[in-house]
Point group: C2
Chain length 294, copies 2
């Protein structure tokens, strides 16, 4: 065919990303432009490396479409995809750089509820009576080791069947296994709960099928969620994990950090149980949190 | 907190992709494993470069979700996203590497219909009578220049209002502006149509909003689609573009290649018009196609 003259470079495997990025030259939003340029560079680099067949490309289109269509008010399959590909934890790490002393963060997850009830130290958060009794205690300190009185700990976890209260409205009591505690004058806190168990993330959708195809399981190791905050300090969103969990090395959402794995001890001591108001034997864990100054 | 012993490396900004890829070690499908490893590498590299805030990450989740939810039987918003980010054309380029002599490929697009009517040379494909008359003619040859008799040209285009027949069922005649032609003993073909016009891709969804936010328009330059095929040769899926179109340098889907831009000539010659069976004046384009051997 006859080529016309004075056209810009024709599309090719080598310049494809340059051409797409050049087309954003008049974007009025500098941040959006930079973000999309980075996405286009890396997306084209991945396509060049993968060399997908047209059938594979179409399978990717179908997977993304189905992932969007799986989402509704109670299910967010793209967050699940982000979680299971380690992206959510990477975004968390980037947004929560800390001093070496401070408690490490991990993902918030989709089950936090704002406005959980404030409870007195020593109260239980378990309202359905299921599970092995657990006493959680510890301190909140600053990076220099000084206790922080009046710090709040917003705590939540799944119940003994592996579900959060918001996943089972009508089945679990409202605000089951949730509560906000405040440290005492010595920076100490303690409350009663039940030992958390591992559970599966929702895996009846495209992300679950992808995990299966990749030879991966859908389990998260047992954990208790915390948001620890105090006036004048940077809050931390994190978990604690019992060290005896079988999925610590293979959390489906990559949420485990070594420093967050703690020994949960089984205590057989009738007197101590009575003092804590739990049945004997009971589990106990000590979890201290360290906050950076704001 | 007390760290447990003998755990694998803890998640960090530096090793996030390594940890995710290591988790696929027992994937039974080597191709899927390689594809996902590449996706994870580039995805994490993009996130490290972009350093999204948690709000930006959530905006990305929302965009992908909405893109999936925009899709139905008649609309494929993720293909549109792939098209407008140049990914569809890159996949096309990778899957259609050719000799220097062969006609270049471009995207198939979503509007091809299998089973268009076979038509005799010289027939028109325009069934709605709208638009400026056009005569398309040319040859199909091999890479050495020898004509290929019996080659088929599957042809389709939008009508004078900028829509394909399948976008307007009931409004346009069935199979409007579609037809399959076969080259004669000298490898020649010719048919009648109307001069194509530029048109907008669907832009009332999230992809249209992204284009707008990026300072991009949603137009594709005028074009006629061809799939040219012959026994013993590799078929080519391509377009031809009139050289007078205002969007040749900014096709919303990056489908233009220099070699596919052709002069469309306006001919004022009553005798020639009568010979071709078109009104005077009329447009004419000569488009030759070159196929590589299979």
């Amino acid at each position: 065919m006859t080529a016309a003259t004075a056209k810009p470079a024709s599309f090719s495997e080598d310049n494809s990303d340059d051409l797409v990025i050049a087309r954003m030259a008049s974007c009025p939003d500098a941040r959006l432009q930079a973000v999309l340029a980075s996405i286009v560079r890396h997306l084209h680099a991945a396509v060049r490396e993968i060399e997908p067949t047209e059938e594979e490309w179409m399978a990717a289109i179908g997977f993304l479409t189905e992932t969007g269509q799986m989402c509704d008010d109670r299910r967010q399959e793209f967050i699940l995809l982000s979680d299971t590909l380690g992206v959510s934890m990477l975004v968390d790490a980037i947004n929560n750089r800390k001093s070496r002393a401070a408690t490490e963060s991990t993902v918030l997850g989709p089950f936090h509820v704002a406005g959980a009830p404030h409870r007195a130290l020593g109260e239980t958060i378990c309202l359905d009576g299921k599970g092995a009794p657990l006493v959680v205690s510890g301190m909140v300190r600053d990076a220099g080791g000084a206790p922080i009185p009046g710090a709040t700990l917003d705590v939540w976890q799944a119940n003994d069947d592996g579900f959060y209260d918001v996943q089972q409205p009508g089945t679990q009591p409202d605000m089951n296994l949730r509560g906000v505690f405040t440290t005492d004058a010595e920076g100490r806190y303690w409350f009663r709960s039940v030992k958390p168990l591992f559970y599966a993330i929702p895996h009846d959708g495209p992300v679950g099928r992808l995990l299966h195809a990749l030879g991966r399981h859908p389990y998260r190791p047992a954990h208790i969620h915390f948001i620890v905050a105090a006036s004048g300090y940077r809050p931390v969103t994190t978990h604690i994990f019992p060290e005896d969990d079988p999925y610590l090395d293979s959390d489906a959402v990559f949420g485990v950090k070594d420093s967050l794995i703690l020994p949960f001890e089984l205590i057989d001591d009738a007197e101590a149980a009575a003092r804590h108001g739990v049945a004997n034997p009971f589990w106990a864990v000590e979890a201290d949190f360290v906050l950076d100054r704001a």
